[in-house]
Subunit: 185 residues, 4 copies
Amino acid sequence: MSSHRDLTIQNSLVIFCDLQVGFQKSILHIEEILDAALFLRKSARLVSIPCLFSEQWPEKYSHVVDTLEAREEEIFSKRTFSLMGSPTASELVVSKKRECIIFAGVQSHICVQQSVLDLLANGFSVFLVTDAMGSRRSIEHTMALESMKQEGAIISTTEAVVFQWFRSVDAPYFEEFQHLKRPQQ
Amino acid sequence: MSSHRDLTIQNSLVIFCDLQVGFQKSILHIEEILDAALFLRKSARLVSIPCLFSEQWPEKYSHVVDTLEAREEEIFSKRTFSLMGSPTASELVVSKKRECIIFAGVQSHICVQQSVLDLLANGFSVFLVTDAMGSRRSIEHTMALESMKQEGAIISTTEAVVFQWFRSVDAPYFEEFQHLKRPQQ
Amino acid sequence: MSSHRDLTIQNSLVIFCDLQVGFQKSILHIEEILDAALFLRKSARLVSIPCLFSEQWPEKYSHVVDTLEAREEEIFSKRTFSLMGSPTASELVVSKKRECIIFAGVQSHICVQQSVLDLLANGFSVFLVTDAMGSRRSIEHTMALESMKQEGAIISTTEAVVFQWFRSVDAPYFEEFQHLKRPQQ
Amino acid sequence: MSSHRDLTIQNSLVIFCDLQVGFQKSILHIEEILDAALFLRKSARLVSIPCLFSEQWPEKYSHVVDTLEAREEEIFSKRTFSLMGSPTASELVVSKKRECIIFAGVQSHICVQQSVLDLLANGFSVFLVTDAMGSRRSIEHTMALESMKQEGAIISTTEAVVFQWFRSVDAPYFEEFQHLKRPQQ
């Protein structure tokens, strides 16, 4: 199994799964999830780690929330719950040539879980940013974490990932990083 | 160990354990359990996945609750806590020729646990639908999950299972599925 | 690792660790623990499973609580926290020639944990009766369970163990068993 | 994996990570953490187990809190989050020639986690004193424990460690030990 020790700025790819306008009303703790996701997004951009944003069935659930400032070339849509079920999405992920995938988004037990299990089966290391993940109901989120852990996903949080990238207060961009607003809840 | 990725409509069998009238008063959160079980039942029927319903000692605990609409040929009774302890029940389960067993019902620490451990020992993959399971006391349910997990049962929830069956919004019957009422709590 | 499936009336030994008068004031949820322990005690006696009761430093902490009706030959005292640290106690446990040890008592993180790890290292299977175990503080109990689980102890509860012994409503003594008062909380 | 059974007074080293004045305001349950850390410190000193205290970026976060009575030769500063990232600190830890590291401090998901994973990768056994550890937010602490557990760290608490050192009420210094004030919450 992989370790947080393997995480570097050079081998990381961040995937934000289905953080769309259309899911906002139904997900538990969505404000805290988006707050943590925004912190992860800004941290990744600061150190030039690539980000991808999936949109599930955008005709129905609309687009990624504006606050995350997803750029067009970072967004892909899908109709399978697993992002690896769409050849375009799957090729996009593979084309980034990054072994460690930092995974955030919703819903933990549907699109997140199906994507994460496929990524693991394809040899990626997957780090679950649990404070930037959620489901409609609490039990669905909790049990999905258990299930993904059972298959080798690594449990993490936004700050645990980001501080692992920096490793030291002397790292490039760490000073700028300290001005970012941290997740509050 | 098996994975949610192995789950298909073709290899799944759903077992509802002892969801009988006679247990309703004593089980914690029985309404939520039956609510989730009903959703699982309707979803399975929609995609023609076979279901079985066990009845523990029906002379004492009466029959499966009406709302689940169990058909006579889907029901079997037992006097051992494990459904694999009854040759009739065991043969019925085996006769379905399905490797993946989706398991729901009560009580998590008695009939569910004994059945699940026997099923695992007989080579089946078992997915625990934790939101459709319960015991008289909270600690009994929680610790039974731990114990079954220790032996290789896979942690899940109703929606995690059902969305794994569909895999895509383009799957047959997905449109009808969207009209089903989801578990609320 | 062992399984609840291995548990039989013939291969089980129940150990009640340090359920003494002198610990009663300091242990969290002591009434529920004693309630569950009493149910386990009575069930074991009904099917003639041997029980042992340890007393830690009885000069200071006094004797096993009366309600458990421990007989003199079932009691042994110790000064090491692990009951396997005392040759007399260790020989007594071994002399019972039972592979499966059902373990209850206090404190989860001191005498229980040290005893359980020694029993596991000596080749016994150990089933933790978590509803009949406790510590002074909640975190101590919870983390001790994690720690013992990490080393192969099996998570259980009183009813999970006892119903595994019976396996069927047709088992000898099951009718008498149904008259026992079950743990309430 | 190591076991509490391996812990002895002779092979233990206690590391208190970043328990500095500058972190006091932001860490959840900091009073309980310091209370438990103080008990661990006093117990270690009683039986002459060496202790080390790290200070993260002391120019910014100031020094170890006074109550722990850290002596100058026990303190080292660092700018990497992992204490193994500083050659001086790393050599100091190695020079103690102790295989079992008892680890306490803050923040669980940053400096603690990065240090612990490095220590494990360097062949040390690491015991997490979970009641003397913490983070700014609850989820960060909980998930860091999960993550460190996934890589082989052993879950523990202050009393579980200290009573494992003593093993018996007849151990040297056990009488003095009984006069120490125990963690309260």
